[in-house]
């Protein structure tokens, strides 16, 4: 598990990552509640956006490895590509789970109205995995860290707006409502609504199931072995 430990250390090494991983999530806890919409405090509604950013930040460590030729050197060691990838992703997943726990638990302590904190945590974890997988698939297209990150920023903006996290999905025109379903963020927004109003646990499982399906799809696509 050397790669795993190393991935953990590297993720926490630079200042930007530390800020993203600690300060921002903690700031999320203290954001106020909305008047009418969103139904849960702003910080929790927008936490999904943060998860997307953190996903790409963490995944681009793999891209950095490719840029510097680390992956090429690993190719001649007895470490399989699967080991390299799985241990890296495990490290990132653990970081994201911890972060989600801190946010949810901190919210409970602070006294925010979170309705069903346990399900909320589960939803965040599912979405974190999906976000990580999407970021992994995204970086498998690029060769340069900066370019991939810049384009991903605009991509995040699009997905967040069309997916119904920033704007309630109900005010969309019909066609856009249908198209929104394609984006994983739509399912996060649905999940948040369920946490507030939901009763039938099957609906919630469906929402998480879809997020998991997205995770699997993008993991398969992102697992292509690229040495350069």
């Amino acid at each position: 598990m050397t790669i795993f430990q190393f991935a953990l250390k590297r993720s926490l090494r630079n200042i930007t990552n530390i800020l993203l991983l600690t300060l921002f999530p903690i700031a999320c806890i203290f954001l106020p509640e909305g008047e009418v919409w969103p139904f849960i405090p702003y910080g929790y509604q927008y936490f999904g956006i943060l998860i997307l950013f953190i996903g790409i930040r963490l995944a681009s460590i793999i891209l950095e490895d490719r840029e510097k030729g680390v992956v090429k050197r690993l190719a001649v060691t007895p470490v399989s590509h699967f080991q390299y990838l799985s241990q890296n992703l495990l490290a990132y997943a653990i970081i994201l789970i911890l972060q989600s726990s801190i946010v949810v638990y901190g919210g409970v302590l602070f006294g925010q109205e979170l309705y069903q904190p346990v399900w909320l945590l589960l939803l965040y974890v599912s979405f974190s995995f999906a976000s990580l997988a999407i970021a992994l698939a995204w970086i498998s297209i690029y060769r340069r860290k900066e370019i991939s990150f810049l384009i991903y920023m605009s991509f995040i903006f699009l997905v967040v707006v069309l997916g119904g996290i920033m704007i309630p999905i109900e005010i969309f025109p019909n066609l856009l409502k249908r198209i929104a379903v394609i984006f994983p963020t739509y399912w996060l927004a649905e999940g948040l609504d369920w946490v507030v109003f939901g009763e039938n646990i099957l609906d919630f499982l469906l929402i998480n199931g879809v997020l998991w399906l997205y995770t699997i799809i993008f993991l398969i696509i992102g697992s292509t072995r690229k040495i350069y």
Binding site: R178, L206, V210, I216, I221
Partner: protein, 363 residues
């Protein structure tokens, strides 16, 4: 961009386009959210196929997924195009005809479905043929390349053998000459010189007379044997520049003027071989393809190179390719470290230059 010429790329694009079609259908057909799950499941199968070579039975998984969603959504019917495509891609197109049964279900959406299946079947078959052809071409190209390398290797080996045979022959010949001189001339000349030395010390005139006679006999004998040896060694066949001259004299079609300068003995036998073939080939070309009336042949031997240039005054149509004869000569010239160049500016000009290696001559 070699990647755009790979048939496999288009197969994968088609797979993902199909998913895009299903999503489009899902958006316009106002079906339930649940049926979106089917699209995601099919997308998983598709990306798995893109990533790994799945066994053929994996299409059953897609088919079962689609079947399960038959009652709830028409997307299931359209999804069957994927297994149809995969089956025909793997040359199992007949099995895919079973899925065409989806058209006859009472709840099946429209007549368009049949055509949708048919294009999947058609493109799958087409892709499978393309991929198969690509494999065949690759194998053929590899085989051709292997054969060509083999031929080149054999050719180089032959040329090397040619040179070494020449060297061996030269050494054997020298050995024969030295033995010949040593066996016959050597004894007599040594005897004669010893007899002359003895002559200075002898007092008795009779004895001296006898010795002188002895010396004379020995010298006569050695002169005769020298003459014989030299005579035996002189080849009757033509060598060196004479070969070229002989060819030029026997060539009757056009006027040839032949010049030679330099010391012809510097050029070794196998180089003459090449020069001879070169001259013959060029003159043959002149008589076959050219309307020339005059040919100028110029042979120059300097300390370090031998240069043979053959120039005619014919009007040539510019041809870009060299014939196999000249190409073979070029390879032979290169194997000796020389070169053969051809120019078609005014008339046809062939210049063959071969370096002379001086070390060889002294071995």
């Amino acid at each position: 961009m070699k990647v755009f010429k790979e048939p496999m790329l288009y197969v994968n694009i088609w797979r993902f386009l199909n998913i895009a079609v299903l999503i489009h259908l899902w958006i316009i057909l106002e079906t339930t959210i649940n049926s979106f799950i089917l699209i995601l499941l099919l997308l998983i199968m598709t990306s798995l196929r893109w990533r790994f070579p799945l066994p053929i039975w994996s299409v059953l998984v897609d088919a079962i997924m689609c079947l399960l969603f038959f009652p709830s959504t028409v997307i299931g019917y359209y999804g069957l195009a994927l297994p149809i495509f995969e089956l025909s891609l793997k040359k199992k197109g007949l099995f895919s005809l079973l899925f065409f049964a989806g058209v006859f279900f009472p709840s099946s959406p429209s007549n368009l479905l049949f055509w949708y299946y048919l294009q999947a079947f058609f493109f799958g078959t087409f892709s499978s043929i393309t991929l198969e052809n690509q494999e065949i071409y690759k194998l053929e190209a590899d085989e051709q390349r292997r054969d060509r390398y083999e031929l080149e290797r054999i050719k180089n080996n032959l040329l090397e053998a040619n040179q070494s045979v020449y060297q061996q022959a030269e050494i054997m010949e020298r050995y024969r000459i030295s033995r010949e001189l040593h066996d016959h001339l050597g004894h007599d000349l040594t005897g004669a010189s010893l007899a002359l030395q003895a002559y200075e010390w002898i007092e008795d005139p009779k004895e001296a007379q006898k010795l002188i006679q002895e010396v004379r006999n020995r010298l006569e004998r050695s002169t005769k044997s020298l003459r014989d040896t030299v005579h035996n060694m002189t080849p009757i066949t033509l060598i060196g520049a004479e070969i070229l001259e002989n060819i030029v004299q026997n060539y009757q079609l056009v006027d040839i003027d032949f010049h030679k300068t330099g010391n012809m003995l510097l050029v070794s036998a196998h180089k003459w071989g090449l020069l001879e073939v070169c001259l013959k080939e060029t003159l043959t070309n002149v008589s076959r393809h050219s309307n020339a009336t005059k040919v100028k042949v110029d042979l120059q031997v300097t300390e370090s190179i031998v240069r043979l240039s053959i120039q005619d005054n014919g009007i040539v149509k510019e041809t870009s390719h060299t014939g196999s004869g000249l190409r073979g000569l070029r390879i032979r010239a290169r194997s000796m470290g020389g070169s053969l160049s051809i120019s078609q500016k005014d008339g046809f000009l062939v210049v063959c230059v071969i370096p002379i290696d001086k070390e060889r001559l002294n071995t």
